[in-house]
């Protein structure tokens, strides 16, 4: 993969399409080590799933715009949607680490882990809402 390879996708807001987009994106992620690659793919799927489930409703027929650029130092990713989104404050308030007692069976988290995964995997992540567009900008540096 040469530097500055770019991938642009318009993704229907469905879970199968989110899966396909994530798999296609990983063609740009060949410079990640194995573990970074696995976690990066999961992190992106988390955000796309979040958009499909919570930003749009099924009847919206919503579209997600994804632009990824593989540069010399990092993989730069922008994901945009025009659904309800979450506020920047809600995004900021989501934890970046899972905290729970592993021995307390009843209180183990069944959901709400996606944003923690995203925040902990990416080296930099910015979320903003501007003029009806919800935009995630995520950067992950190459490490072997």
């Amino acid at each position: 993969m040469t530097d500055d390879a770019i991938l642009k996708l318009l993704v229907p807001a469905t879970l199968p399409a989110a899966r396909d987009a994530t798999e296609r994106l990983m063609a740009l992620g060949r410079r990640f080590g194995d573990e970074d690659r696995a976690l990066y793919e999961t992190a992106v799927m988390e955000w796309l799933t979040n958009v499909v489930k919570h930003s749009y409703v099924p009847a919206d027929g919503g579209i997600i715009r994804l632009v990824a650029q593989a540069g010399a130092l990092e993989l730069h990713l922008v994901i945009e949607d025009r659904g309800r989104g979450m506020t920047a404050a809600q995004f900021a308030a989501a934890p970046s680490q899972m905290e729970f007692d592993p021995a307390a069976l009843a209180s183990l988290p069944e959901s709400g882990m996606g944003l923690a995964i995203l925040k902990s995997v990416m080296d930099s992540v910015i979320y903003e809402q501007q003029q009806g567009i919800n935009r995630l900008i995520a950067v992950k540096r190459w490490r072997s």
Binding site: P16, A38, L39, M98, P102, M113, G114, S120
Partner: protein, 109 residues
């Protein structure tokens, strides 16, 4: 989504044949596993050796299964691949689930 069952003594070994345990199949996977518990299975081994991708929806489904089994049952994970283990570690769920490299190791536990 395809699950393959094999009875091994007191254990029901359930092998997920799909390559991804993600949001696309999480609900159907969870419901299929809960059906097995409702049928009386209390000792489960989940064989994940085919699975190379796990997200929080899939992981959440496995947590639901563990909770339904409760303290009287058990859920072992076997054949956990490196990408799946990376997600378990990141979410700290590696402290929750008992994992084994192989099905035989899980059954011998």
């Amino acid at each position: 989504m395809v699950l393959e069952d094999q009875v091994e003594g007191d254990y029901l070994v359930v092998s997920l044949r799909d390559k991804r345990l993600d949001a696309v199949i999480a609900v159907s996977f969870r419901e299929a596993m809960l059906e097995r518990i409702e049928e009386g299975q209390r000792k489960l081994v989940l064989d994940l050796s085919n699975v190379g991708f796990l997200d929080s929806s899939g992981l959440g489904a496995v947590v639901v299964v563990l909770k339904h089994l409760g303290q009287q049952g058990c859920l072992y994970l076997c054949g956990v691949t490196p990408p799946v283990m990376a997600v378990l570690r990141l979410t700290r769920m590696d402290r929750v689930f008992k994992t084994f490299p192989t099905r035989a190791a899980a059954l011998a536990a």
